[in-house]
């Protein structure tokens, strides 16, 4: 009986286990995870800290579901692998043998290197179930908080703290929010909404020192010399794929673990999937990291089936995410920005490196009240889109971008000054879906 070991109990790991069990009732499947919480919805943590869902709702699988899948879950940290002997060591000294191994260790939130930020109660991140509980606990007593960083996670923390009645200061190192994914209009929409909710945004501001007293945070001193009193300092400055285990035995890595289209690493019988995997992107010809739930699930499934001996290929699709930015539902599809953002080192959670790979393209946009639509038009197709507010066009645009639909017929209309682009796309989509029989 073959033994499959999966390191990681997140979306990729669970999907791989489910896929293996789908095809083989006899396979022995062991998941190793260093979080006692096991499998939970990491994106759901945002809604837990805004008190939209209770803790119990964060777990998509019940104990019975796990039992029905005959999965053995070991709460431990994997410390090393002997690829030759096909064994994996755990922190408690246990050694397990495997036939095929999947590394789905995900990623960790990066933390600041400030010496003053060490060992103080009140310094938080939103990375794990435990972190979310910590934020909820601290918010009950805190009066003010400083949030530092960018991307989706920073705003999730801001929203969570605001919901708990904590006065929130948001530090931006640059002059606008998420500058390499959003354009200036979009950044301003988000910032304006935050300010309306009572968030104080500090532009061009960087922390110099976290001030502590009796082991607790009491304030932040900025590089400009200002001091802000607070009980919480939250960091969301990017994530790092957890590649240590792979690196320790020389598996080829760059920012993540490099995998081929079968999700295989360069070491026999070892696969990787999810946030930790760096996969080939046929659009850009580069190896890319997505920190998104959907790709993690799909990669996990394909890795699981290939661990059983199948030869399925993973084709990286157009990355998209539907999220909430300052309470505004926002869909980000394909290539929409470029360059770097001083608030983030690399990417954040719910993010994709592809979003920052915009080649030559012309932007057209339309705004109405809080609704905003931006399209990045290439020579014959839409390369990327951002839909804020009204989500009617979210699904159609995802289809048009991912299927690389030829939009030459409407390109001139879209690029006219003050063009009603939402109407033009809607009409085009209605005709297109009828012609191609799409539901």
């Amino acid at each position: 009986m073959a033994r499959f070991i999966i390191v990681g109990t997140g979306a990729a790991g669970i999907s791989a286990a489910e896929a293996i069990r789908d095809r083989s009732s006899a396979a022995e499947i062991i998941l190793i995870g260093d979080e006692a919480a096991g499998f939970y919805s990491r994106p759901g943590l945002a809604y837990y800290i805004t008190q939209e869902v209770p803790k119990s709702q964060l777990f998509p699988f019940t104990k019975k579901d796990i039992q029905n899948l005959h999965l053995q879950i070991i709460n431990a940290r994997a410390t090393s692998i002997d690829a030759q002997a096909h064994t994996i060591m755990l922190h408690d000294g246990r050694k397990l043998s495997y036939d095929r191994l999947l590394i789905a260790t995900g990623s960790n939130a990066a933390l600041p290197s400030l010496p003053s930020a060490k060992n103080l109660q009140g310094i938080v991140k939103l990375d794990t179930y435990e972190d979310a509980q910590n934020i909820r606990k601290l918010s009950k007593r805190a009066r003010a908080a400083v949030v530092i960083g960018g991307g989706i996670t920073a705003l999730e923390i801001v929203e969570g703290l605001q919901t708990s009645g904590v006065k929130t200061h948001y530090f931006l190192r640059g002059d606008r929010y998420w500058s390499n994914v959003l354009d200036e209009t979009e950044s301003r929409i988000v910032e304006h909404r935050l300010q309306e909710d009572g968030v104080k945004i500090h532009y061009n501001t960087e922390e110099q020192e976290i001030i502590g007293k009796r082991g607790k945070v009491i304030g932040v001193r900025t590089k400009a010399g200002n001091q802000i009193k607070c009980n919480i300092v939250a960091y969301a400055i990017g994530i790092r794929p957890r590649t240590q285990l792979a690196k320790s035995i020389g598996i080829k890595t760059e920012r993540g673990i490099l995998v081929d289209q079968y999700m295989k690493t360069d070491t026999p019988d070892i696969f990787a999937a999810g946030d930790v995997a760096q996969v080939f992107d046929p659009y850009s010809g580069q190896y890319i990291i997505d920190s998104l739930w959907g790709p993690a699930r799909l990669q996990g499934r394909i890795a699981g089936l290939n661990m059983l001996g199948e030869s399925l290929t993973y084709t990286k699709g157009v990355p998209f995410n539907v999220t909430r930015l300052a309470g505004l539902t926002t869909t980000i599809i394909g290539m929409v920005g470029f360059g770097t953002d001083v608030d983030l080192d690399g990417i954040a959670r719910g993010d994709s490196e592809t979003w920052r790979q915009l080649p030559d393209a012309i932007a057209c946009q339309q705004s109405f009240d809080i609704n905003h639509l931006r399209l990045q038009i290439g020579s014959k197709k839409i390369l990327g889109a951002i839909v804020m507010g009204d989500q009617t066009l979210s699904q159609p645009l995802r289809h048009l971008v991912s299927q690389q639909v030829d939009i030459t017929a409407i390109k001139d209309q879209l690029l006219k000054p003050k063009a009603p682009i939402a109407d033009v796309v809607a009409t085009f989509w209605t005709e297109w879906r009828t012609q191609h029989d799409i539901q």
Binding site: S41, E52, T329, Q395
Partner: protein, 93 residues
């Protein structure tokens, strides 16, 4: 509520049930559980989204609570078109 209005509501609900149901787009779902949490009759909508199945539970009220609450637009009410209302002459039933 009068009996007439109650019957009217029941009839509308049943009509909705035979003409459509809530359908998830799994690729948008992150399993946050808001849908299941807000379902008034405890249907595990989230599990349906995980496996990509429409919510064909006979108890579903098609109240739209899950559709409205989902922060990512995963759920949509879709008509099945199995029963054409005109042909069935539902209004006369």
């Amino acid at each position: 509520m009068t009996l007439r209005s109650y019957l009217k509501r029941e009839s509308t609900r049943r009509q909705a049930l035979v003409t459509g149901y809530v359908v998830p787009d799994s690729s948008r779902c992150v399993q946050c559980g808001i849908c299941s949490y807000n379902c008034p009759i405890d249907i595990d909508v989230r599990r349906h989204a995980w496996v990509g199945h429409p919510i064909k539970d006979k108890h579903c009220l098609t109240c739209g609570e899950c559709v409205n609450r989902c922060p990512r637009g995963v759920l949509q009410f879709e008509r099945t078109n199995i029963f054409d209302a005109d042909k069935l002459n539902i209004e006369d039933i």
